[in-house]
Structures are given as C-alpha cells and as structure tokens.
C-alpha cells in the first residue's frame, strides 16, 4: 500500500492526563481517512501533532516517507474545528494573508483565490468585512483558504458544521474532487453518515488509545453478525417451525400481510439455504444481508471499550 502519512507510537502527556497513548496511524495515499472517536478521545491532539502545532512526547511521524519536518506544513492543509477569521478584516485581504502564510506568492495566491471565489460564487464579498458575512459564507472562505495552496494532505476537523444542506453537498463534492485529483484527506467527524458516505479507511480512537482501524469495508465485514433480513407475503406457519436449527429468527414482525424477519445464520448455512428453506412457505419479496452502520459500530466498540476499561479499573 502506498502510504502518504504515518504516525508511529505517538504518546502525548499533559500535566493531568495522557492525551495519546502509543497511537499509530497509517494513511494510504489518495484516500479519505476517517479519524473517529468520542469527545476527548485525543483526536484534536493527534491532529495538532500532525500539523506540528504541538510536538509528541514519544513516537515518530513520517510524511511521504520522510521524517516530518517544519517545511512539510506547505504540503498540509488544515481546517480546525475551532475556526474563525478576523472579523474586522476584509474577506479578500484576509484570504490573501492566510494564503501567503502558507507560502504562496502574492501573484499565485491572487489567481487561485479568483478561481475559487468564482467557483463558490462569493466574488461579490471580496471587499466586505468578515463580520458582515453569514456563518456559512465564512465557512466557505475558510474552506477555500485551507485548500488553496493545493496541499497533498488535507485535514478536515468537522468540516460540515455551520453549513446548510446545500453547502454540505458542495463541500462534500469538493472533498471527493480533491481526492480524485490526487490529494489525501484526513477527516475527523462525529457524523457517522458522512463517514459512511466518504471514508475509505477509518481509525477509531477512544480514551487516548486506538481501538479499531482498517478499510471501511473490512471493518463492516468484521462487525456483521451474519444476519439476513427477509420479507414476503402469504406466509403460512411459524418462523420457528419452518426454519432449521442453524437459522434463528432474532426479530419478526407482520404488517398488513407483509411478514418480515431478521434471521441469524450459523454454521455453514448461507443465504441460499435460507431461501431454500423459506420458498415453499412464502412469496419472497426481498432478502438482504444486515450490514452494521458505522454508527452502530462506533457505539458498540466505544461502549465495549469503555466497559472493559471500567472493569479493569475496578479490578485494579
């Protein structure tokens, strides 16, 4: 796998607590990498370490195979969760300033800003003060400033907060566009639906430690419990009596002559066996595998991890 960014055994301690405990992440090039975890898990600390805003106490970081150096910030774009602009400054002037801090020349910055302001339809706001802009409009400016210097690695911390649904879509499309053009994106959010939609890989951090990682597909496969949902009409008999012992109904319901059931398969039984068992008894309308949502996986793993830690604490 082609790796653009790697963090190995990162530990960061603050006076009162350990924010990260030997956390490693591997970000494949040209992917969207979800960095997930509940509040206070250590995500923001890890992101700040990647951006070299703070340094780790232990561990090493690599950008594109090289040890992470200050000059790498020119190849990284960061949209923090706590973000804002100088309220009294004019929009264009401010965008130019932030772009130049990222190392762009005045000329380059101007031509790129012109392109992006046109694309996001905010040219008219160039000479307005930031305080006159709506929150969504400010977010657009911030998004543009983050990606303007065409970084190879982009880090978005809750990028959709403050956007209306139309702009969420606009930004989502831009994120996918950026990936298609070769950028890699680290994406941190609590919105599991957008993880599902965008992410190729995820890492889940809880209580300063990594508890889950992998491609979204692999993670989902690991967490699926071999349950199939079936629905059909003209069902005669009872689920228990119709199904063999290797197929256990976990949920059933009947609604207006539409019978539904979620059935866990065990042993060698597959969906075809389930179909074969049911065909003589009902007219089947649908059969599909129940795949856990990222939301469910998040809640399950974090919940489990927290319970385990608590038990450990009690035992200790």
């Amino acid at each position: 796998m082609d790796i653009i960014f790697e963090a190995k055994h990162i530990t960061k301690r603050f006076a009162a607590h350990t924010a990260l405990n030997r956390v490693s992440i591997t970000v494949p090039r040209n992917s969207i990498f979800g960095l997930l975890g509940p509040n206070g898990a250590g995500k923001t600390t890890l992101i700040r370490i990647i951006n070299q805003i703070t340094g780790p106490d232990e561990g090493s970081l690599f950008f594109d195979g090289e040890a992470l150096k200050p000059h790498h910030i020119y190849n990284i774009g960061y949209l923090p969760e706590e973000r804002g602009l100088y309220k009294k400054m004019k929009v264009g002037e401010q965008a130019l300033y932030l772009a130049r801090l990222k190392g762009l020349s005045k000329h380059d910055a101007m031509s790129k800003l012109r392109y992006w302001f046109g694309k996001f339809e905010i040219q008219a706001w160039w000479n307005r003060k930031v305080e006159e802009l709506s929150k969504g409009m400010q977010q657009k400016v911030q998004f543009i400033v983050t990606i303007l210097h065409e970084p190879r690695l982009l880090i978005f911390d809750e990028p959709f907060s403050g956007f209306d649904p139309i702009n969420v879509n606009l930004v989502k499309e831009e994120i996918l566009n950026l990936r298609d053009k070769g950028a890699t994106i680290i994406f941190s959010t609590h919105n599991m639906a957008s993880v599902e939609e965008l992410c190729d890989y995820i890492t889940l951090i809880n209580r300063s430690e990594k508890i889950l990682e992998g491609s979204v597909r692999d993670v989902k496969n690991t967490y699926k419990s071999n349950i199939y949902e079936v629905s059909g009409q003209q069902f005669s008999g009872a689920w228990d009596s119709v199904l063999p012992g290797s197929m256990i109904p976990v949920r059933t319901s009947t609604d207006d002559n539409m019978h539904k059931a979620a059935i866990r398969l065990s042993g060698n039984a597959g969906p075809n066996d389930l179909l074969a068992a049911l065909l003589p008894h009902m007219e089947i309308h649908a059969l599909n595998e129940v795949i856990p949502t990222m939301n469910e996986i998040f809640i399950t793993t974090v919940g489990q991890d927290s319970r385990e830690t608590k038990t450990e604490e009690v035992q200790a």
């Binding site: 805003i53 400054m89 801090l101």
Partner: protein
C-alpha cells in the same frame, strides 16, 4: 522570517488604517498644541475690565490699590448699605468693604459681588492688603520704611555644571525636571496604551478562533513576535506623527500671530505650562527669565542634549514596551475574554505605577540610591532612567541599565512565549497562577 514580516505587516496595516488611529493621530497634536497655545493666547487677551469700588473706613488703603490691566479701583465714601445697594447700578464688578476696627491695623475685609468673584481679583486684593498690613505692623514696631525697602532682595542662583575637563556649563534644573518627567510619563503612557493593544489583539485572535488556523502555518512564537513588533511600529508611527503635527501646528500658529504675541512672554508661558509640578519651578524659571531675558531661555533650551534624550527615549520606550508587551501577550493568551484579565494585570501594572510614583522622589534626588536602583531594574528603568537622564547620568549607569533592559525583555519574552503557546489553544478553562506555572515548566 518572511512569515513574521507578513504578520508584522498585517498587524501594522490593520491598525494604522483604523478610524480610531487616524482620529487619535489628528486629535493628539491638536490637544497638545492647544495646551501650549491657548494659555499664551488667553494671556494676550486683555479681558473684560472690572471696576471695583473700595469703601475703606480705615483710610489705610487710600490709593494703595493700583489699577491693573483688568482691574480699576475707585474709592466710594457712602454708607455701607447705600453702596451695597447701588454698586451694581454704577457698573461696579464688586464692592470691597474694609470696616473700621478697634485694633490699629485691620485684619479682614469683605468683598461683595453678585456672582462668585474672580480668583484673580480675590488674590490681587488679598496680596495688596497683606503687604500693606505687614508694612503697617512693621512700622508699628518701629522699623523704618527705608530699612524695609532695603530688606527686600532678589536672589538669582545660577547653577554651573562642571565637567571632568573643567568645562563650565550652565545647568538648568527646572528644564531637566520638565524634560525628565515628561519623557517618563510619556513612556508610561505608551507602554500601557500599546501593551494593552497587544493583549487585546491576542484575545481577539483567541475569541475569533482564528489562532489555530494561523499556528498551523506559523510558529506561535512568530505570531506573538509579529504582533508585538507590528504594534511597536504603530506606536512609533503615532508618536512620530504627533511630534511632526504638533510642531507644525505650533509653528503655523506662531507665524500667523507673530505680530500679536510677545515672544518672550510666550516662551515664559511655555515654561510655566510645561512645569506641572508646581509653582516652585515656574517661579524660579520666572526669576531666570526676568533677570536675563529671552536669551537665557534659548540658552537653557540649547543646553539640553536633545540627541541623547531623544536617542535614549527611543531606546527606553522600545525596551520598556517590548518587556511589558510580551507579558501583556501572555495575559491575553491565558484568558478567554477581557473581563478575566484583571487578576493577571495586577503584577504587571504594579511596577509601572511604582515607577511613576517613585519618579517624584527621583526628580528631587536624581543621584540617590533609590534613583540608581530603580533606574537599573528593568521593570522600572524605562521610566526612572528617562527621568534621570536630563540631569546627566554616568555612562556606566546608562550602559548597565540598557544592558539589563535588553536581558529583561529577552527573559520576559521567553517566559511569555511559554504561556502563550499553551494558552492560545486553551478554551473555556479558568486559568490561575498555579496553572500558568505548569505551562511555564512544561
């Protein structure tokens, strides 16, 4: 370094373009010029002539009240009640009534007026009466008028500064006091004004939540330094413009009214104006001018080593500002809003206020041990040293003070940077001194 200059540029430009900066820049010199010009102008105006009726039952003050430019005295001889009733009608400003007393010399009088009498009128009458009564008393005790005249003496003490080479130079204590105190107060004022601008700038970046965006591009230290330097340049710009504009306005005024203003009198007024610490200095100054005229005033002004004073003013202004600005930046980083700054402001403002308070003692004894120590310690040296310099300071003291100030601001900047880099990314946490100590050690 290139990025720091970008930050300096932004900090500078956003501030000098502000309306408040432009207004302050124009208003400052107007005020300064007004302070210098108005009293001179007013002193030139003859003012309304006031007629004062004197009803003297003792007869001791007959023609003792000599008329002045604004006051004309005339004696009336009616009964008190009649005079009281009609002095307004006769266009008198006031009625002075000296009652007959049993004693040989009176000790009081009454001044009737339909409004609060002018302080000048009051003091003038008091002065005349006091002198007259004193003379009367002395005469009563048998001292001859001629002896009295010969006792009145005027002393003018010319102080000469003798340097190592034996060169003599007239020294002008009063002028040194004025220049010293003025520079000291100006430095105090500038440190506070621009130091708190640094603090507000840091708080603004924190509350706007822009700080994390910026520190992902530059080091926190660069951001802090850029802000401090940018605001220092704003301060220097404002100061420069003030000096130029004030000078311009005063010059323009002088040339426009040159014919109307008696130059010597104007200079004298300027001296008095610039001597806020009391009549003592102004009186002596007056004595000097009276005795030696305009030439002496110019000599006094020329005796000042302006190059040294302006040079050291710039150094101590910048040094003092840098020392305190870093601390102000640290305070800004430690809090979430301006209301929370109080508890941390105290230790920063105490040395500054102490310096201004000490200034009054230093000015009376610029060579004393207190003056020495306060002008060496970096926290008070910018103000105290500036007060001492016009009196002449040994070169070793000056160099020691400057070196310690440089070390001092390097130390506070280092110390402040540690608080700053942790503080700017900390939200919603109530910070106390214990917490700050942790940040410094971290």
């Amino acid at each position: 370094m290139n990025k720091t200059s970008l930050i300096i540029r932004r900090e500078y430009l956003t501030r000098v373009r502000k309306r408040s900066f432009i207004i302050m820049t124009i208003l400052g010199p107007l005020l300064m010029a007004a302070i210098m010009i108005v009293p001179i102008y007013v002193s030139q105006l003859s003012g309304e002539e006031k007629k004062i009726a004197v009803l003297d039952e003792t007869g001791l003050f007959y023609h003792r009240f000599t008329d002045t430019e604004n006051m004309k005295f005339s004696h009336v001889y009616g009964a008190l009640d009649t005079e009281k009733a009609q002095f307004r009608a006769q266009e008198y400003y006031a009625l002075l009534y000296v009652p007959k007393t049993e004693l040989s010399v009176p000790n009081g009088a009454f001044l009737y007026s339909d409004k609060q009498p002018n302080i000048n009128v009051k003091t003038y009458i008091q002065d005349v009466m006091k002198k007259e009564i004193e003379t009367l008393k002395l005469q009563a005790s048998g001292i001859d008028q001629d002896i009295l005249e010969s006792v009145k003496t005027k002393v003018s003490l010319v102080t000469i500064k003798l340097d190592d080479g034996g060169k003599e130079e007239k020294s002008y204590t009063e002028l040194s006091m004025v220049i010293g105190l003025f520079s000291g107060i100006l430095i105090y004022f500038f440190i506070f004004l621009f130091g708190s601008q640094v603090m507000r700038g840091v708080i603004e970046e924190k509350t706007n939540r822009i700080v994390e965006v910026i520190v992902s591009s530059v080091k926190p230290f660069q951001l802090m330094l850029g802000k401090i330097i940018g605001i220092a340049l704003v301060g220097l710009t404002q100061f420069g413009l003030w000096v130029i504009l004030t000078f311009g306005i005063v010059t323009a005024f002088q040339s426009a009214y040159a014919d109307k203003i008696d130059a010597a009198k104007a200079k004298e007024m300027l001296m008095k104006q610039a001597a806020p610490m009391g009549t003592q200095a102004a009186d002596t100054q007056e004595a000097v001018t009276e005795d030696n005229g305009v030439g002496e005033v110019f000599a006094a002004i020329q005796s000042v080593n302006f190059l040294l004073i302006i040079g050291s003013f710039l150094f101590f202004f910048l040094g003092g500002y840098l020392l305190y600005a870093a601390l102000f930046a640290a305070i800004g980083a430690a809090v979430d809003n301006e209301a929370d700054t109080q508890q941390f402001m105290l230790p920063v403002t105490v040395p500054l206020i102490l310096a201004i308070v000490m200034g009054q003692f230093v000015i009376n004894n610029p060579e004393g041990p207190a003056s020495f120590w306060f002008s060496i310690i970096p926290f008070t040296s910018p103000i105290i040293m500036m007060i001492r310099i016009p009196f002449g300071v040994p070169l070793t003291d000056l160099i020691l003070s400057m070196a310690l100030l440089v070390l001092g601001f390097l130390a506070t900047t280092w110390f402040a940077a540690k608080i700053y880099r942790t503080g700017i990314l900390m939200y919603g946490k109530k910070v106390d001194y214990k917490e700050l100590w942790k940040w410094i050690r971290y």
